[in-house]
């Protein structure tokens, strides 16, 4: 008992200290700088110069699928094995590992969706200095230079990308610690001990390897009070890439920084290490909750990507400057703590090619249930069933639609996930049924930290099955999180994931129903009393250290949870799982959000580049907490955030426990009306959002896009991150400034025209447009040449709108043409995949005729939806409009023309959305 009380006191102190740290902005001292991270500081101390590595061309072997060659470190004589693959779809894979490591090094599993298919590689030329390989086509070449080792990828005479051109390849070979006694006196670990040469393979007799000197932090490292024992010693890796002709690089989320990556010279590198950062700072390369080690480069000629497949702590240096011959150049250097070098070079050349290439490696965005694209109402916490019911009622009373209401950690019995607080939620099924009756849904939080409590079934099962992560001494790893002392299931273990998934079965998760979905928070993992608020790196996942797998943990948690949701429905229903931590490939399992932001204008602005960066690396289903999580938004900020959030992929309001309530109707009737209007705009556009996600799943194209993705040759777009595109056809410039009286939006595209979606006013492309704004303004433009389908009958949830008719917005380009698509399915099952139950149609306006044709004749879906109205923007007044349907029927359609706006409105043509038809304007 005394022990228990002690523990509780410790817990309180701990929780208190954690909470106190929230009061101010991020406490930077909780998190490492590169200097404080031994391997980063070691690696970064190495300056560009001649590489000590030499390719031993005599060891070169070329098979159908790949080339191998040994690399020798001239200093320590350690041999590495380089593998080169030419992958289908214009990619090259470069793998470097130790030829004979003393023990295996971690290679990231489960992230690639397949073993990437290869293409034939052939040697074009070879001498003692270099080998020239063909990458297909006439002038695609890969040049492997022997001494010093470097790789250059060429197109004709042009170098697209070079590896190790700055000589920063470094590979700390695994070694046996010779001096075991030093383990007893680790303080001196940094000092020179009598290190012996390691019995490494020697290339030839007579060559002597240099003595390697142990450096500080190689065998143990302490940060604040946390010791990291390093039984495997140093294991870090590093490689540099040079991109001649490149000035703009993007990606490597997650950071609270602008879209375009900055030069890191003189500061810290961008860090990729999933961390629970309280009140993160803006414009900072510090690590946040998720990590996707993918960097994109772009110039007017070419877009390329680098995918550094490594799940350990990683730092990325970006340095832009003049290369040789005054050509701009960007140098990128990756440093990881362990694992191997496994890098995919995606050669584009266009942005959409890079997206396709990356999608072929890690998969595409999961196609979400339609309702999850609608509005989500969240708060830490909705207190009890009555509260949920009152909020639900509030939305109806104020005629604001919503689809999901969320329950944070307080809904559980003492933070035991998969349970309910019996006092506050005595009848969860009644509550869920009440929501179901209104065709609405709920999300409960299920975090991966499991309360250590022998009367808690989830805990006892995980413990007895041995599914917990182990500490360095082999016992179950325990750390502090919301429930107090908690264990962390080893999600890297497929058996564990299978078991976890089975816990979502309706019979297992008591009180759950088919309209209950899941939110995985704290899955970096967050460990309140751990180093940098996360897990000790020497904790063990089977044979691997946490160090090796850290950035994968959240990925696996979401994977297992999504799988659980699929299984509970017998494989029929699409899952919806939100995660805070993520890695490359997380797009396959659901949505992410940008974590614990704050109710500040800067955070509202930052939501745009953060989600744009995620979209570029495959994760399209992204959003920021509307209103800001910490602190209290002014009514103006809240309204502006709703307006911006309504045009971002994941649209959820959320608030911290200690902030006043902020349901949309609590700020006076004017603000309620403004918020209602923003949410309604979202609902009218749901068919368009759904189509974008359908495309994202099929092609890997981002839903929310930077302008340069669609206008890759327009330099003016390269640094824009205060406006964005949804798909190709909607351009959004949210108002993100306090008391704004206007914004300046850049409308891209020479010869393009853009229509204000509210006034239908037409503007030319390639100009900066000043737009005066009021509190009700959400500047949005539809691209001339596009057709967008909306459902203008906004109801209380998206499900209620299922059978409603469409209104088409045909925005004519300067030639009087337009094209668009319509996608319809049941909105929630996999039948579109398994049974081809969907409608996918092309809508095209050309030569004064608008027609609908089938893009997928072998699929079908019975839809009750029809076309109630067609608005043609930029039109001329016709004499007559007739409708022709497939059965040969022809009928006259009534119309109205507004000469002021040049909008032609066709009244109730009435055809079913799933059939062929043509409307002729005469």
């Amino acid at each position: 008992m005394a022990n228990f009380i002690e523990r509780m006191c410790l817990y309180l102190v701990l929780v208190l200290s954690v909470f106190l740290s929230i009061i101010q902005a991020v406490d930077r001292s909780n998190f490492k700088t590169c200097d404080q991270s031994a391997f980063c500081s070691r690696q970064r101390a190495m300056k560009p110069g001649q590489s000590s590595y030499r390719a031993l061309l005599e060891t070169l072997e070329l098979s159908d699928s790949h080339l191998t060659v040994q690399l020798l470190n001239n200093n320590n004589k350690v041999l590495l094995l380089l593998e080169l693959y030419r992958l289908q779809g214009n990619m090259t894979r470069v793998k470097i590992n130790e030829l004979k490591p003393v023990k295996p090094r971690y290679e990231v599993p489960d992230v690639l969706i397949t073993d990437p298919p290869t293409e034939l590689m052939s040697v074009v030329a070879q001498d003692e200095h270099r080998v020239v390989l063909s990458l297909g086509g006439e002038d695609w070449r890969l040049i492997l230079s022997a001494q010093p080792f470097r790789l250059d990828i060429m197109e004709g005479p042009q170098v697209l990308l070079s590896l190790n051109s700055r000589g920063l390849l470094a590979f700390e070979q695994l070694r046996i610690r010779k001096d075991t006694k030093s383990q007893t006196d680790t303080k001196e670990a940094g000092e020179k001990e009598d290190t012996e040469k390691h019995d490494k393979e020697k290339v030839s007799e007579g060559e002597e390897a240099e003595e390697e000197v142990d450096q500080p932090g190689m065998w143990e490292e302490t940060f604040k009070t946390h010791a990291d024992t390093k039984p495997n010693g140093p294991s870090s890796i590093s490689l540099d890439f040079s991109l001649p002709g490149v000035e703009h690089v993007y990606g490597i989320p997650e950071h609270a920084d602008g879209l375009r990556l900055k030069n890191t010279d003189g500061g810290d590198p961008y860090r990729l290490y999933n961390l629970d950062v309280f009140q993160y700072e803006l414009f900072n390369p510090m690590a946040l909750y998720g990590a996707v080690p993918v960097l994109l480069s772009h110039n007017t000629h070419r877009t390329m990507g680098l995918f550094w497949l490594n799940a350990a702590e990683t730092w990325v240096d970006v340095s832009s400057g003049q290369g040789s011959s005054e050509v701009p150049q960007t140098d990128v250097r990756w440093i990881s703590e362990s694992g191997i070098i496994d890098v995919f070079i995606m050669l584009g050349p266009r942005p959409n090619d890079v997206f396709t290439q990356y999608a072929s490696l890690t998969g595409t965005q999961a196609f979400p249930p339609l309702s999850s694209l609608a509005y989500h109402q969240c708060r830490w916490n909705y207190n009890d069933q009555e509260d949920v019911s009152a909020v639900d009622q509030g939305f109806d009373e104020h005629d604001i639609p919503y689809d999901f209401i969320w329950l944070d950690i307080e809904h559980t019995d003492g933070k035991r996930y998969f349970t309910w607080d019996n006092n506050k939620f005595p009848q969860p099924k009644d509550m869920l049924q009440g929501l179901l009756d209104k065709r609405r849904k709920m999300v409960t939080i299920v975090d991966p930290h499991i309360k250590v409590d022998s009367s808690y079934k989830i805990h006892t099962e995980i413990r007895s099955r041995g599914y917990y992560i182990k500490n360095k001494d082999g016992g179950d790893y325990e750390g502090w999180c919301w429930p107090g002392n908690a264990g962390y299931p080893d999600f890297t273990n497929p058996e564990m994931r299978k078991w976890w998934a089975s816990m979502f079965a309706y019979g297992q998760y008591e009180g759950s129903m088919e309209n209950l979905y899941t939110w995985n928070d704290m899955n970096e993992p967050s460990v309140f009393n751990g180093p940098e608020v996360t897990m000790h790196k020497d904790a063990l996942h089977g044979p691997w250290e946490h160090r090796d797998v850290h950035n994968l943990y959240g990925f696996y948690v979401q994977m297992a949870t999504a799988e659980g949701q699929i299984q509970r429905s017998g494989g029929l229903e699409r899952p919806f799982v939100l995660t805070r931590a993520f890695f490359a490939g997380s797009q396959r399992y659901g949505a992410v959000w940008t974590g614990d932001n704050a109710a500040e204008w800067g955070h509202l602005k930052m939501s745009i580049p953060m989600c744009l960066s995620l979209g570029l690396v495959g994760i399209s289903f992204c959003g920021a907490d509307v209103g800001g999580f910490f602190k209290t938004p002014s009514a103006e900020l809240l309204v502006r955030w709703y307006q911006a959030g309504a045009y971002q992929p994941f649209f959820r309001a959320h608030a911290h426990l200690d902030t006043p309530r902020r349901e949309p109707w609590l700020f006076g009737p004017d603000n309620t009306a403004l918020i209602r209007e923003a949410v309604r705009q979202r609902y009218t556009l749901l068919p368009y959002w759904y189509l974008q996600f359908y495309h994202a799943q099929r092609t890997g194209q981002p839903v929310m896009r930077p302008l340069w993705v669609e206008y890759p040759e327009d330099i003016a777009t390269f640094s824009i991150d205060d406006e964005f595109l949804i798909g190709r056809d909607l351009l959004v410039h949210p108002v993100t400034d306090e008391r704004s009286s206007g914004v300046t939006a850049y409308l891209p595209g020479n010869g393009e025209v853009w229509y204000d979606v509210h006034t239908f006013q037409r503007h030319d492309g390639a100009q900066n447009l000043s737009i005066p704004v009021t509190m009700s303004s959400i500047p949005v433009f539809q691209r001339g040449g596009s057709i967008i389908c909306r459902k203008n009958r906004v109801r209380r949830s998206s499900s209620c709108m299922e059978n409603d008719p469409y209104t088409l917005y045909v925005a004519l380009d300067s030639q009087g043409n337009a094209e668009g698509e319509l996608y319809i399915d049941d909105g929630h099952t996999f039948k579109h995949e398994t049974d081809k139950q969907f409608i996918h149609r092309r809508l095209s306006f050309t030569a004064n005729s608008l027609s609908s044709s089938d893009l997928s004749p072998d699929s079908q879906f019975p839809s009750a939806s029809w076309v109630e109205q067609v608005n043609i923007l930029g039109a001329q007044k016709p004499d007559a409009v007739t409708l022709t349907t497939t059965d040969g029927g022809e009928s006259s359609v009534e119309f109205a023309f507004d000469p002021d706006t040049a909008v032609l409105t066709l009244r109730k043509p009435g055809m079913n959305a799933g059939v062929n038809w043509t409307l002729h304007l005469r």
Binding site: N383, D437, D658, P660, R795
Partner: protein, 435 residues
């Protein structure tokens, strides 16, 4: 179906007071009161006058009027509204977006005529239930109102009593004050030799120590008196004591009556005064500032009489009472006109959820809401506060508490004092049944 003309005329068999059925035809979703605007087979002018359309475009599932008036029975207009007759219950308007959305909104099921939703007509059942609950409410109101009259009467009598007692005690207080003044002079004269004696005995510290300590105490007390005597009238009133929060032993932000007394008693018991004159002075002084009777006077003078107990002092009976509600985790305690607090059931200290602030109801019923604020501060948040909603009931009881927003509590409280004079039951029922 989509292109089908949805001009659907309703046939409504409406039970009239006589029980006779009369058939009325009007477009779906139109209330009886607007029927005259929808003249069959005549062009329809949108109710906002914006345009005129043929009659067959009413309820044709396409929105022609900006105000939505051409589609009262379909979901075509974003701003339309649909009228459900709800015979047997209460008629209602619903947003037209709720027509055929698969959810039963009108108890007569008329909103779901083409959605496949199976709705049950629950109007009669709801009407019956509502009548029952109205009846119960009416009875409660009636009884409550009678109790209220009693409360008003008692409050009036109580006030008279207090006034009488007050006058009497004010007289005796004055006498006492004069006596204290006289004694103070005697005491001060008598104290001079004592000082001299003290100086003489300065060398033997051990012996004098006790005396010095007492001297210190005396000085401190005198200083304290001056400090406490905020209005410098020579007397320390309870109100003055209560305004000094440094004297508040439980640091709950308020100095209760009990605490005040404890302080008075402890200070007198620790004083040892050798001088007779000092003793006399102090005993009278003590009786002046600490006599329960005087406290009672002070309290009634400075607080109770000053309170707004409602238009007829009907809330006066709540004064100095406390009401508790026990939930699964806490015991909530409402002491009207004083404070609201919360105490964990299973150990832990009490939390002040707010001190009496003011009546905070809307203009037309100011006395329906009490506001308690300046409670204990919240981490990173405001001071706790509680809104107490008063509803009519026979009993005086706290019926529920909640914390809708962090540190903002809501309490429901029933009391006869808010019961309004009941309308006759017939009137109530009539107001809620159409036709």
């Amino acid at each position: 179906m989509s292109c089908a003309l949805l001009l659907l005329l309703m046939s409504l068999a409406l039970a009239m007071g006589t029980g006779a059925a009369v058939e009325i035809q009007r477009p779906r979703g139109v209330p009886l009161s607007s029927e005259q605007f929808y003249e069959e087979n005549k062009p329809f002018t949108c109710l906002d006058g914006s345009s005129t359309i043929p009659f067959d475009r009413i309820n044709d599932d396409y929105c022609d009027c900006r105000d939505g008036s051409d589609e009262p029975g379909t979901a075509a207009c974003p701003n339309g509204s649909f009228h459900c007759t709800n015979a047997g219950f209460r008629p209602a308007f619903i947003p037209s977006s709720r027509i055929n959305d698969g959810i039963c909104d009108c108890c007569d099921t008329t909103d779901e005529y083409n959605s496949g939703a199976t709705c049950q007509n629950t109007c009669r059942e709801m009407g019956r239930k509502e009548r029952e609950s109205l009846q119960i409410m009416a009875e409660i109101t009636k009884e409550g109102f009678m109790l209220k009259q009693q409360l008003i009467h008692e409050a009036k009598r109580g006030q008279e009593d207090k006034q009488g007692k007050l006058t009497e005690l004010q007289g005796s207080k004055k006498g006492l004050e004069e006596k204290v003044e006289a004694l103070r002079t005697v005491k001060e004269t008598a104290e001079d030799p004592e000082k001299e004696a003290k100086e003489r005995h300065l060398k033997s510290w051990e012996e004098q120590k006790e005396l010095i300590r007492m001297e210190k105490d005396k000085t401190r007390m005198a200083e304290a008196f001056l400090e406490l005597d905020d209005d410098a009238d020579g007397y320390v009133s309870v109100a003055e004591l209560q305004s000094h929060l440094e004297l508040d032993p439980d640091s709950d932000g308020s100095l209760t009556e009990t605490e005040t007394q404890v302080r008075c008693l402890s200070s007198s018991s620790t004083l040892f005064l050798p001088l007779k004159s000092r003793e006399e002075f102090l005993s009278h002084y003590q009786s002046l500032i600490c006599d329960p009777e005087f406290i009672w006077i002070c309290r009634n003078l400075e607080k109770e009489i000053g309170f707004d107990f409602g238009p007829s002092a009907e809330f006066a009976y709540l004064y100095s009472q406390c009401y508790e509600l026990s939930t699964s985790e806490y015991i909530y305690r409402l002491c009207p006109f004083n404070r609201v607090s919360q105490k964990p059931k299973f150990g832990g200290s009490e939390t002040n959820l707010g001190l009496w602030g003011q009546w905070a109801g809307p203009e037309d019923s100011l006395y329906s809401v009490m506001k308690y604020d300046h409670g204990q501060g919240c981490w990173q948040g405001p001071n706790r506060s509680t809104t107490v909603k008063l509803t009519c009931g026979k009993e005086t009881v706290v019926t529920s508490t909640s914390e809708p927003s962090r540190c903002e509590y809501l309490m429901e409280f029933t009391t006869p004092a808010v019961c309004q004079e009941p309308a006759s039951l017939d009137e109530v029922l009539q107001g809620h049944t159409e036709l």
